[in-house]
């Protein structure tokens, strides 16, 4: 069980990072440095697609918060898309749905970002 991610530049100012797999402590630790480094290079809106994440623990939340802080410090923003119902519950209990926008679909996120 591990996690991978792919990056896609949607517009000049919007980037999508799709995560795939299980976001537990060891897998989050395995990608957090690379994930942060990619966000450090952005000063844009980053959509994190959680559609293919089947499980997320607090280490996944931790990685997202580090990412959001990184983006915020550079004038960008983090947006979450398509968490399954279990992952959404973790996001909600931790209060993360009050911290960044969470959209059901990529289309919803893009619309909210004016696309």
């Amino acid at each position: 069980m591990s996690v991978t991610f792919t990056e896609e530049q949607i517009t000049d100012t919007i980037c999508k990072i799709s995560l795939d797999g299980t976001l537990d402590a060891p897998s989050a630790m395995s990608i957090e440095d690379e994930f942060k480094a990619i966000l450090m290079a952005k000063s844009a809106q980053v959509i994190v697609d959680l559609d293919n994440i089947d499980y997320m623990s607090s280490y996944g939340l931790r990685m997202l918060l580090v990412g959001a802080k990184t983006l915020n410090s550079k004038g960008g923003g983090l947006h979450l898309v398509a968490p399954n119902e279990h992952v959404m519950k973790v996001i909600t209990v931790a209060g993360y749905d009050q911290m960044f926008p969470v959209y059901e679909t990529l289309k919803d996120a893009l619309q909210a970002l004016g696309q």
Partner: protein, 142 residues
């Protein structure tokens, strides 16, 4: 409904998926609702992650034993280790109302555990074993 099982693994991060699979299988055998099963898997994962990352800090990683006991009205999960004593009841609660930009990174694992379980208790036995017990009440069937 009776289902008593246990698993013992060395407290290392790479063993977390095996422990999660054990809890998931116990929940499936007991026909627990998938939402409750996910919650229990998460709660055990969070505690075992803490034990693997902090519990044996400075020590050779030792065992984690997870016991699963299901009854009609509740599931009781015990997690035992021989690492440093740690009572999760003493862990500070995160301030969810704080501006997220100032929120510290981490500290959510035990918060999630406390949200999931109806009761969390800790005991250190004289031989130095830590025992954490989670109780999750089950909805009564009609």
């Amino acid at each position: 409904m009776t289902n008593d099982r246990q698993i013992t693994k060395i407290a290392q991060l790479e063993n977390l998926p095996l422990i999660r699979t054990f809890v998931k299988e116990c929940c499936e055998t007991t026909n627990l609702d998938s939402n409750i099963a996910y919650d229990l898997v998460l709660a055990v994962d969070e505690i075992c992650t803490n034990i693997a990352t902090h519990g044996y800090k400075g020590l050779e990683p030792g065992p984690i034993t997870v016991g699963f006991k299901a009854r009609e009205d509740r599931v009781t999960i015990t997690i035992s280790d021989r690492g440093h004593p740690f009572d999760p009841g003493n862990a500070p609660e995160p301030n969810l109302d704080q501006d997220w930009r100032k929120r510290p990174v981490g500290g959510l694992g035990l918060f999630l555990v406390n949200k999931i379980a109806n009761k969390v208790s800790y005991e250190s036995s004289p031989d130095g074993t830590n025992h954490l017990t989670l109780v999750k009440k089950l909805p009564t069937s009609s």
